[in-house]
């Protein structure tokens, strides 16, 4: 009997995670696409050498960072996939959103300084859940994008 109640509880969490998680994800993607369109004119490259012909007044480090966590459904999907192995599609969207959000925030910081391009863009991704102790902490990762904004 208790087993049934536990299963029902897990099922409920899964459903909430699935439904609301997807809604939140869609909303985030729409937001990302809107801002990407707005900031499309601010160029980013990961080359170290800025263009030689353009004069540069100022160069400053800009960083964009975000922490994104998983929902219950993603966690269960990962647990199941962990038995058979292979590509973990549930997390792909999470990582993609995180990265694009970090780049956007870096661009926004650069735009705020009046820059027109950012060079030597680098990424760092760090998973944070190691800090928790106990059974299966929820996964969350910090995404950082940083580069040098060129203001001319």
């Amino acid at each position: 009997m208790e087993v049934l109640i536990q299963l029902a509880f897990i099922g409920l969490l899964l459903l909430v995670g699935l439904v609301f998680g997807r809604m939140a994800e869609k909303r985030h993607y729409r937001d990302i696409e809107r801002r990407e369109a707005e900031l499309a004119d601010l160029l980013v490259f990961n080359e170290r050498t800025p263009p030689a012909d353009r004069p540069i007044r100022e160069a400053t480090l800009v960083v964009g960072s975000v922490v994104i966590g998983e929902d219950y459904f993603k966690r269960m999907a990962a647990a199941l996939k962990g038995l058979v192995g292979g590509r973990l599609t549930a997390y792909e969207s999470l990582m993609d959103r995180g990265r694009r959000e970090a780049i956007l925030r870096m661009k926004e910081a650069a735009r705020a300084r009046g820059a027109r391009s950012v060079f030597n863009v680098r990424f760092e991704t760090a998973s944070l859940s190691e800090a928790h102790v106990g059974a299966r902490p929820m996964f969350s990762a910090e995404f950082i994008a940083y580069g040098t904004a060129l203001i001319d």
Binding site: L43, V44, K74, K81, T89, E92, D96, S117
Partner: protein
């Protein structure tokens, strides 16, 4: 040399395959695999359970198997009869070639219905209802020898069979098998196969003949039980459920006792008396001698 940022295709980094579909597929697959493994363990376990060493069976079961059996409020009767039952079982066991390390323990149960069973861990239980209806020690000996024969062939753990193997697997995987023991023990009481019963009957007759020199009085066990079944009108105890028919067993025992001479080989009375639930004395006063 131009610097530009054309729109990239972000979709390459996110697979198009639906996460939900894949999740359901995996969940169902895992569930089926677990069920299949459990089924294999259950069926295979039935066949292989008797190879679990007796010492393991004892250690795992301990005294918990007796939880469904109550000694009842008449502890004095238990204290009086159990040593007698134990001694009788010991005498019979000497003729039965029990495996190394198997020392059956006989217990008294206060239940009013006549019943006797052998269960896990080498425990045999005899009820008040059976004991007070036995017309002679020879009849009681047949019952005890029958249960000892079940123990000798590891029938309890085979009957439990698949459940035992599944429980063992759970324990190995770190689970807690303690709650399973009483359920498993009750499964044993649901009865053994007909083949096991016939085998136990034959072994019991041999043991009784070895002990007393004859098989007289043994058939009366089933006469007593048949009478009880008729009197209680269908509420027959478990003893009778999967067993071969009583007529068959009575006939076989009577054949075994063909050369019995009741005069030169008198039946022994029960050594210890006890008051039955209905207030009857042990049936020493009503000997039933059938040819």
């Amino acid at each position: 040399m131009s610097y530009e940022n054309p729109q990239v295709r972000h979709e390459v980094n996110v697979s198009r395959e639906s996460v939900l579909v894949e999740f359901l597929r995996l969940a169902i697959g895992v569930a089926l695999a677990v069920l299949a493994a459990a089924a294999v363990l259950y069926v295979g376990g039935g066949a292989l359970a008797r190879f679990i060493p007796y010492s393991v069976e004892q250690g795992w079961v301990g005294d918990r198997v007796l939880a469904p059996v109550e000694a009842g409020p008449n502890a004095a009767d238990a204290a009086a009869v159990e040593p007698y039952l134990q001694r009788l079982a010991g005498d019979l066991a000497r003729h039965m070639d029990l495996p190394e390390g198997m020392h059956p323990v006989v217990h008294w149960s206060d239940a009013a219905a006549p019943n006797a069973f052998a269960t896990l861990g080498g425990h045999v239980v005899v009820t008040r209802g059976l004991y007070t209806r036995m017309p002679s020690e020879n009849a009681l000996a047949l019952v005890l020898a029958h249960e000892l024969a079940h123990l000798r062939k590891r029938d309890p753990i085979s009957a439990v069979g698949g459940s035992a193997t599944l429980a063992l697997a759970l324990v190995l995987l770190g689970g807690d098998a303690d709650q399973l023991v009483p359920h498993v023990a009750q499964a044993v009481q649901l009865g053994y196969s007909r083949r096991a019963e016939r085998r136990a009957d034959a072994a019991a007759v041999d043991a009784v003949i070895a002990e007393y020199g004859h098989a007289g009085g043994a058939a009366s066990v089933f006469e007593v039980l048949t009478d009880y079944a008729e009197a209680s009108q269908g509420a027959a105890p478990t003893l009778l459920s999967t067993h071969p028919s009583d007529e068959e067993r009575i006939a076989r025992l009577q054949r075994a006792a063909l050369d019995w001479d009741p005069v030169r080989q008198p039946l022994r009375p029960l050594r210890v008396r006890v008051t039955s639930a209905e207030g009857r004395r042990s049936s020493l006063d009503r000997p039933r001698l059938k040819p």
